[in-house]
């Protein structure tokens, strides 16, 4: 029983991290149709900002999330105007941006390596302790991450459905030319979406590094996992993405406990591939018909 509970708790912790990543990445897919491997640089950004704010500057923990928020906004803005904008204006955007973002991920990793050094640093923004149930501990960090994941999802859904910003982003993603004719500034709304994405990604970086340490390639694993999760859930479906994040988190942790830690990710990938063999558009995805 307590092994089962242990699997549930660690699955909850891992799943909530994947979920936060999936939320941010699915915003980008929904807006511009891009899969962003440079997400790993944003995660590391959150971790290093947290380390810098608390350990180097010695500031209070209250400042960590706002600092990550700001840094994410700035990086998202730069990312859009330096790179994405120019690739978006050419053909084959969805594949070219993957190549460019792989390069950007490596560039980010190298920048952190040269600026902060390669050694793993302890990320100070974390909650110690937890609730004990039948000898198994549910850490406060897990509870907090789940809470933030759900909160981010709710906020993002509200922004996308209720506010003018969300309306603009949805309009632009459906019909860029028509919305331009209606007087929407397409560049600006894409830039806003990227800033929103950057802030969410950097905050998720603070949470993800809270259970491990901060090192240049810290976000690589969870980025690839979040992308795989989005694909198996069917891209563009936020709720299915969150559900899949938790389901695959439980699967991975279950395999980790039963077969050993090295089979966690491969078995998760095998599951995803089997699903995609039967449903190439994802578990909850619908077949997309393009009119010509």
């Amino acid at each position: 029983m307590d092994i089962f509970l242990q699997i549930v708790f660690s699955g909850l912790a891992v799943g909530s991290m994947y979920a936060v990543g999936a939320i941010a990445l699915s915003l980008l897919w929904g807006t511009m149709g891009m899969l962003n491997i440079a997400h790993t640089a944003f995660i590391a950004l959150g971790g290093y900002i947290s380390y810098w704010t608390m350990t180097v500057m010695g500031a209070n923990w209250i400042f960590v999330l706002p600092m990550a928020f700001l840094a994410g906004i700035v990086m998202g803005y730069i990312y859009y105007h330096l790179i994405i904008r120019h690739i978006y204006s050419k053909e084959n955007f969805s594949v070219n941006i993957i190549i460019a973002s792989v390069a950007l991920a490596a560039l980010g990793e190298n920048a952190y390596l040269n600026l902060a050094g390669g050694e793993a640093l302890r990320q100070p923004f974390r909650f110690n302790g937890g609730l004990e149930m039948i000898g198994v501990v549910l850490t406060f960090q897990t509870i907090f991450t789940v809470f933030v994941a759900v909160l981010l999802m709710v906020i993002l859904s509200l922004i996308m459905s209720k506010t003018k910003l969300g309306q603009v982003i949805r309009a632009v993603s459906q019909q860029p030319t028509a919305s331009k004719l209606m007087g929407i500034n397409v560049q600006k709304s894409f830039a806003t979406a990227l800033m929103l994405y950057g802030s969410i990604a950097a905050i998720s970086g603070v949470l993800v590094t809270g259970t491990s340490q901060v090192f240049p390639s810290v976000g690589y694993d969870s980025t690839v996992k979040a992308l795989v999760i989005l694909i198996v859930a069917g891209l563009g479906n936020l709720r299915a993405g969150i559900f899949m994040a938790f389901a695959l988190g439980f699967l991975e942790m279950g395999v980790n406990y039963v077969l050993g830690a090295r089979y966690g990710f491969p078995s998760m990938l095998a599951f995803v591939i089997i699903v995609l063999l039967f449903k190439p558009n994802g578990f909850f995805g619908k077949e997309q018909i393009t009119r010509v």
Binding site: S89, V95, V102, A103, A106, K225, P266, P280
Partner: protein, 405 residues
């Protein structure tokens, strides 16, 4: 100037001459694209034949220039990477399967060859075909699982497969066999496989002649790999992929089965990728999980991107350029990866068709005219700016709404 710099310069000049010759032959036509599409297959075939002959002749006599061991080593590495990239380009640029997991296919070839040598005690010459066969099987399985997905999905899934493979290898700690008191993990673990012997050049050609044996073996690999790629491009398969690339819907309505032909090319590209893996393992005498690392993936990917995706000689040019850039960047060792990624980003931003596209663009440069507005890539703003009167003509109107991203 040192000797090795001179010979690198000569190589670069040779390649540049070949490029110029390449486009000299095609530049007489007014429109490059229409020439390619028209029935000029034989002209192109002869052009590729002469370029290939010049390059091969140059490569054959290259060691006679008295290049040192270091340069020959670099050139051998260049041959192997160029062979891999040629096959990757066949899949990625030509058949339109956007795989980022090609290094996993390469790794399977290298590892199976090394394991056959190590555990069965076979000579590496006998192990090479085994490795190639295993690679073909692996790439068939991998292709069968991913090819039905859409483009960007394939990129992420293949990248995930390569990462999962690297994780499985690195975390392997159980002893599989114990030889001479050394514990060998089945996959070699994080430190890699070693001690499976080599191709025996040292015994045949002596300590000094060994490097020449390795050189010509790698050259043979590259020649065969390029011949195979050219064969695919000029075969009916090549026409199939050109039709899919030009208009997928039209091709499928004519009965072209995209999935089937993509799977065929993906599987076949495993042969020479696997052989390249085996030759790499044999020449390096050790193979480890670092061939699945992000930096090597980036290195080879930038060869394709810089050279020009989907072009016949682009990968070769890209491999040569990147090997030169790498020799320069090696001195900045910590910034090497940053330099590579900057190269990729700059090429993606300014030269989306790579060096080959740039040269083709110079030869086929034409002053802009109003015709270019119907290219379908221009957005409404540019149309508005360039000729206001034509906006409400039917063709432009439909165009500006019709091209959905």
């Amino acid at each position: 100037m040192e000797l090795y710099q001179i010979s690198i310069l000569i190589t670069a000049i040779g390649i540049l001459v070949a490029i110029v010759a390449y486009f000299w032959g095609t530049s007489r036509s007014e429109n490059f694209v229409s020439k390619v599409r028209s029935d000029s297959r034989n002209t192109l075939l002869w052009r590729d034949f002469w370029i290939g002959l010049i390059l091969v002749a140059f490569a054959l006599i290259f060691p006679a220039f008295g290049a040192g061991k270091y340069i020959l080593g670099q050139v051998i590495l260049f041959f192997i990477w160029a062979a891999v990239v040629t096959q990757w380009n066949l899949v990625f640029g030509f058949a339109g399967i956007f795989t980022l997991g090609h290094m996993a296919v390469f790794a399977i070839g290298g590892y199976i060859t090394a394991m056959t040598g190590l555990y069965l005690g076979w000579s590496l010459w006998a192990a090479l075909p085994v490795g190639a066969l295993a690679t073909v099987i692996f790439s068939f399985l991998m292709g069968a699982t991913i090819i039905r997905l859409r483009g960007p999905y394939i990129a992420v899934m293949t990248l995930a497969i390569a990462i999962a493979m690297q994780k499985l290898i690195v975390s392997d700690v159980e002893c599989f066999i114990t030889k001479d008191l050394i514990c060998y993990n089945f996959t070699g673990g994080a430190k890699g496989l070693f001690g499976y012997g080599g191709f025996g050049f040292k015994e045949w050609l002596g300590f000094k002649g060994r490097i020449y044996g390795e050189y010509y073996l790698a050259l043979l690999l590259l020649i065969l790999s390029t011949l195979f790629a050219l064969y695919v491009i000029y075969s009916p398969l090549g026409s199939t992929f050109r039709s899919i690339r030009d208009n997928e819907i039209c091709a499928s309505s004519r009965g072209v089965n995209r999935v089937k032909y993509q799977l065929i090319v993906f599987t076949l590209s495993g042969i020479f990728t696997g052989l390249a893996g085996g030759v790499f393992a044999g020449l390096q005498t050790t193979i480890g999980p670092n061939i699945l690392s992000l930096s090597l993936l980036l290195f080879l990917l930038s060869m394709i991107v810089v050279g020009g995706r989907g072009t016949n000689w682009g990968p070769l040019i890209g491999a040569a350029t990147l090997m030169l850039a790498d020799t320069v960047l090696r001195d900045l060792n910590e910034l090497r990866v940053a330099g590579l990624s900057l190269i990729i980003l700059l090429v993606m931003l300014f030269l989306p068709n790579g060096v080959v596209g740039l040269i083709g663009g110079i030869f086929n440069w034409k002053p802009k005219n109003n015709q270019s507005n119907t290219d379908g890539q221009k957005n409404l703003k540019q149309v508005l700016r360039s000729n206001r009167n034509q906006v409400f003509k039917k063709g432009n109107w439909i165009k500006s709404f019709g091209d959905e991203k």
